[in-house]
């Protein structure tokens, strides 16, 4: 497949301004989170997770610059969409933005992980409430997950336990590559399936999971 290495994944971090994208990125990279400026362009960081190199692209979410998001869609393996769970006034706005993303051709079929961030705040809606609000259960054309988290406490995003949300979405992504390979493999599909299955198995075992049990 087009990737340089099977251990390299491109992750796109999107969401409204003030959702907590950059804070999540810095927390994943174990950096200081108390001096983060609203993003005027984008940040990119490479984070290691269970033997994978995650190249995470964090794009500013200000209304004025959302039209530029599309410049970053190409070759995305996983979309992470961040929501400020305590900003109820903007649930409609964030739902519309997510809906638009899911309609994008270049993101078709790409697994999406929704972070219901800022759970530490008193008015935060729960992950299930947000899933309902955003009609996530209607999504049929891709794998999706919603994960409650707090970037400030690190809960829900931490990369130290084995099946953290990032690894979970990695699993989904690998699985998706496997599936799309079966579907789009063309005439060498037999061989491809075998090769990709081998990769999948080795990658699953990287995550400390037993696929063939």
């Amino acid at each position: 497949m087009k990737k340089q290495s099977n251990k390299d994944l491109r992750i796109l971090l999107l969401g409204l301004d003030n959702a907590g994208k950059t804070t999540i990125l810095k927390k994943l990279a174990s950096e200081d989170i108390n001096h983060i400026t609203p993003t005027q362009g984008f940040n990119i960081k490479t984070v290691q997770s269970s033997g994978f190199r995650l190249n995470v692209w964090d794009i500013g979410g200000q209304r004025k610059i959302r039209p530029y998001w599309r410049n970053y869609f190409e070759n995305t393996d996983v979309l992470i969409y961040v929501i400020d769970s305590a900003d109820r006034k903007r649930f409609d706005e964030t739902g519309e933005q997510l809906g638009d993303l899911l309609d994008e051709d270049k993101l078709a079929g790409i697994p999406v992980l929704v972070f219901a961030n800022k759970q530490d705040l008193l008015s935060a809606a729960s992950a299930s409430e947000i899933a309902e609000n955003l009609n996530l259960h209607k999504i049929r054309d891709r794998k999706w997950q919603i994960q409650a988290c707090s970037a400030t406490t690190g809960e829900g995003i931490s990369v130290c336990n084995k099946i953290n949300p990032v690894n979970r979405i990695l699993l989904m992504s690998i699985d998706w590559r496997f599936t799309s390979c079966c579907v789009y493999g063309g005439k060498n599909v037999g061989q491809l399936i075998i090769r990709e299955s081998m990769i999948c198995i080795s990658e699953y075992s990287y995550l400390g999971l037993d696929l063939i049990s």
Partner: protein
């Protein structure tokens, strides 16, 4: 509930995951109504120290009100307010002001954001670069306020009173040939913008709005400099522990014609220190704790600073630019040394 999602996929692989209990599942439930001011008209309302205690706060749809939040909070949204005077104590995260018109606000925060606002006057303390979007006729001045509990509230919100970018505004929606934002005229009488609370609830509050008493040192930011002479003063851990930076700034402001342009608190590694100060002299100091840098300006600023620093630092180590000509280079090195690289769109 933590995590759930689409039903197909890696069920088997994930099946042996233990259910996780997060801190928000365990925490004591509070009533959001106690942390919300909504649909008010013509009232003087708010919270006293100890009534918010670092929680989130919501201000929504108020008209002709005077609102005082004299406590620290996690984050605050101010939506759809018209003709209000608002004080917000130290906010650990962001403040987001949306769809507001004709308000005078004093606040301190980590991130400042506005959208779809007009005619706001903001007395601001902001640790990071403040941003505005679709906002016109907004004016900024330096946060200038005192009450007894305020200093500790800054600490509780993890904000340094020295890390202030109040005049370094980024406008996401500039309009050619127009200024969406301006400065509040110099030396403002804060009380004229934001009157002290008159209602009984706040009778016990002992408030001052003078430059002398302000918990945040008043800086001139991007206002025009009076002199071509500037220099950098830096304080290290021991001097900071004895409160030297604040003493120096206040004495400089009260006893001389010099001005304080900007201040910043940060941490440095020895290699950063070498790069900024061109010497190994401070390498041990920077390992002990944060550094506070102050840019000062005035015709005689070097000589006057030297005298004041001897008095304020009482033998503790400090840095002062060698000459007025070295000043600008020092200032640039200190205030820009950790500006992280970031991509444009």
């Amino acid at each position: 509930m933590g995590c759930f999602g689409s039903k197909y996929g890696n069920e088997r692989a994930l099946a042996h995951e233990e259910p996780k209990v997060y801190s928000w599942d365990r925490r004591e439930r509070v009533d959001p109504k106690d942390y919300t001011l909504q649909n008010l008209s013509g009232e003087t309302v708010g919270r006293l120290p100890g009534e918010v205690k670092g929680q989130q706060f919501i201000i929504d749809n108020c008209k002709d009100c005077n609102i005082y939040i004299f406590d620290h909070s996690a984050t605050i949204t101010v939506d759809d307010c018209t003709n209000c005077r608002i004080f917000l104590g130290p906010i650990q995260g962001s403040v987001f002001i949306r769809d507001c018109t004709d308000c005078q606000i004093a606040l301190a925060c980590q991130q400042f954001r506005t959208r779809d606002c007009k005619k706001l006057d903001i007395f601001l303390h902001c640790v990071t670069q403040p941003i505005i979007e679709a906002t016109t006729a907004i004016r900024f001045g330096c946060f200038q306020y005192y009450y007894k509990e305020l200093k500790d509230q800054f600490a509780a919100a993890k904000l340094s009173v020295f890390s202030n970018n109040w005049s370094n505004i980024h406008d996401f929606t500039p309009v050619a040939g127009e200024n969406n934002w301006m400065l509040i005229p110099e030396n403002p009488a804060v009380d004229d913008y934001l009157p002290r609370p008159s209602s009984d609830k706040f009778m016990t509050m002992d408030i001052s709005t003078t430059i002398k008493d302000s918990v945040v040192p008043i800086t001139t930011g991007c206002r025009r400099k009076l002199s071509s002479n500037s220099c950098l003063v830096a304080f290290f851990a021991d001097a900071i522990a004895s409160d030297a930076p604040l003493k120096y700034v206040k004495q400089l402001q009260q006893e001389t014609n010099c001005t304080v342009v900007q201040t910043k608190q940060l941490s440095m590694k020895p290699e950063d220190s070498m790069r900024v100060f061109y010497t190994e002299r401070y390498n041990d100091e920077v390992l002990k704790g944060d550094i506070i840098g102050v840019e000062v300006n005035g015709d005689n600023v070097l000589e006057l600073s030297r005298q004041l620093l001897e008095r304020c630092c009482m033998g503790n180590l400090y840095y002062l630019s060698d000459s007025a000509s070295a000043g600008n280079q020092d200032i640039d090195a200190f205030f820009n040394f950790n500006d992280v690289g970031m991509g444009g769109l």
